[in-house]
């Protein structure tokens, strides 16, 4: 049987859509853990990034944190937490690891977004008698919003992708189809799981494109340039180091 027909029959098999090991239940868990992790990453990265950007300090840290993150394999961090803390806490370990990998894009983009606000605009706001906090709330955050949202998009897509790896330390979620499928040598299962995970990642990416369009309709062309620029900015960062 060809790969595609095996994937097709796996996906159309009703038993894969029911129960604790079914697609809907695992999707719900996948999204739940991802959402908690992104929330934690936001709770840390947003205030720190806004503050660093506002005072204009710590830029090297905010930018280089993603370079450090890139060198540490997700799987390695998960395994270190798993053997260090114990199997019974694997869900908490996964959430910590996911939050750690979601943090760099949020921090870098928030910092850069606030930092890139035109100094003249900032000075004009000051001249109008705004306090530091007012400048941040009324000027810097609104102007940084497109970049912050883009950081959120990268973080969400990354966390949801990384969540599949958690199946390697036995955590529930969509990654289980892929990992168990390989263990059972069942191409329908790992291929089908891959299709579900891939569709989820692309759907989230699509939702963010729409969201960014709604939130910031005027700056579409500018944002598109930025979206394309994500990888380019990484190259630039490496070029200057």
């Amino acid at each position: 049987m060809s790969l595609f027909s095996e994937i097709g029959s796996w996906l159309s098999d009703g038993t894969n859509w029911h129960g604790a090991a079914g697609i809907p239940h695992r999707l719900a868990i996948h999204l739940e853990y991802s959402a908690i992790s992104v929330a934690i990453a936001c709770a840390i990265a947003l205030p720190v990034g806004l503050w660093l950007g506002h005072v204009g300090k710590g830029g090297a840290v905010a930018i280089n944190i993603s370079n450090v993150g890139r060198a540490i394999p997700t799987y390695a961090l998960l395994v270190l937490l798993f053997v260090g803390i114990g199997a019974q806490h694997r869900v908490a370990e996964t959430i910590v690891a996911l939050a750690a990998f979601g943090l760099p894009p949020l921090l870098t983009n928030t910092y850069t977004g606030v930092r890139e606000v035109d100094p003249e605009v900032r000075e004009a706001a000051r001249g109008m008698g705004m306090s530091g906090g007012q400048v941040l709330r009324r000027v810097e955050i609104p102007l940084a919003m497109p970049l912050i949202l883009d950081g959120l998009r990268i973080a969400v897509v990354q966390v949801v992708a990384t969540m599949t790896v958690a199946a390697l330390i036995g955590v529930e979620g969509l990654g289980r189809f892929v990992v168990d499928g390989f263990t059972n040598s069942d191409p329908g299962q790992y291929g089908g799981g891959a299709v579900v995970v891939g569709v989820l990642a692309l759907a989230l990416e699509g939702i963010f494109v729409l969201l960014q369009r709604v939130v910031d309709p005027v700056a579409r062309s500018r944002r598109d340039r930025r979206r394309v620029g994500t990888a380019t900015s990484e190259i630039r960062a490496a070029e200057t180091s």
């Binding site: 798993f82 040598s185 891959a194």
Partner: protein, 234 residues
């Protein structure tokens, strides 16, 4: 290419709860070396393949705006697919018996998002005066590309290569699902037995490998672009 590391349930070397075990490193040295070799060959092979593909794609992307958008957009789209899912699609396409090549292709595909952009932005950054001067001196398309454009684009290409290599080295570990994860195979064994020392040794080796590769590429770049020496980093 190094063969897959056999699952080893060898004798307990140290209490599982110790983070460092000298005996593990000496007694299992051969396995660690094998894992390291597989890790390096898969990462370098994958990135090298990605580099060749990216060069070709970047040359195509120069031909028209439409091609450029399709190629840049396509590489971004592929990058969005979670790595385990990409591997799960590649393995049956390539064949389970040659699954190490699926890992290699996966790394190559992921490297495209950075490498194609590095080539495209690097080549686009060559000043028009320079290419015009070279054309005036009688340089043809190929000679222009090899002697003028590529050397001037090198800093950007090398920067992209560093990012892609460091990411690729981290990515190899996920090959563990088909027993070709290099150091990831050791991480799997550490998970099964709860060996802290094995988890730490493998993780440290992954990071050291990435840092060494990054530094080597940086030095290589300094060596092959001597005209940039002494110029402050932009």
């Amino acid at each position: 290419m190094a063969p897959a590391l056999a699952a080893d349930d060898g004798p307990l070397l140290c209490p599982p709860s110790t983070w460092f075990c000298g005996k593990y490193i000496t007694n299992r040295g051969a396995d660690i070396k094998l894992a390291l070799q597989e890790h390096i060959s898969l990462a370098l092979g994958g990135v090298a393949l990605g580099l060749v593909l990216s060069f070709g794609l970047a040359l195509l992307a120069r031909r028209s705006q439409v091609l450029r958008n399709v190629i840049l957009g396509g590489s971004t789209l592929l990058y969005t697919i979670p790595s385990l899912a990409l591997l799960a699609i590649l393995v049956p396409l390539i064949g389970l018996s040659k699954s190490q090549y699926a890992v290699l292709f996966g790394i190559a595909i992921y490297s495209l998002v950075v490498l194609v952009r590095a080539f495209v932005t690097g080549l686009a950054g060559v000043p028009d005066e320079v290419t015009e001067a070279a054309r005036g001196m009688g340089f043809g398309t190929v000679r222009m590309l090899l002697r003028v454009e590529l050397p001037l684009a090198l800093p950007t290409i090398m920067a992209g290569l560093r990012v892609a290599t460091v990411s690729g080295i981290a990515l190899v570990t996920l090959g563990v699902v088909v027993d070709h994860g290099g150091l990831g195979n050791l991480l799997d064994e550490a998970t099964t037995h709860g060996y802290k020392f094995e988890a730490l040794t493998a993780s440290v080796l992954c990071v050291v490998l990435a840092v060494v590769a990054d530094v080597v590429l940086l030095l290589m770049q300094k060596l092959i672009t001597p005209w940039r020496r002494g110029r402050a980093a932009r």
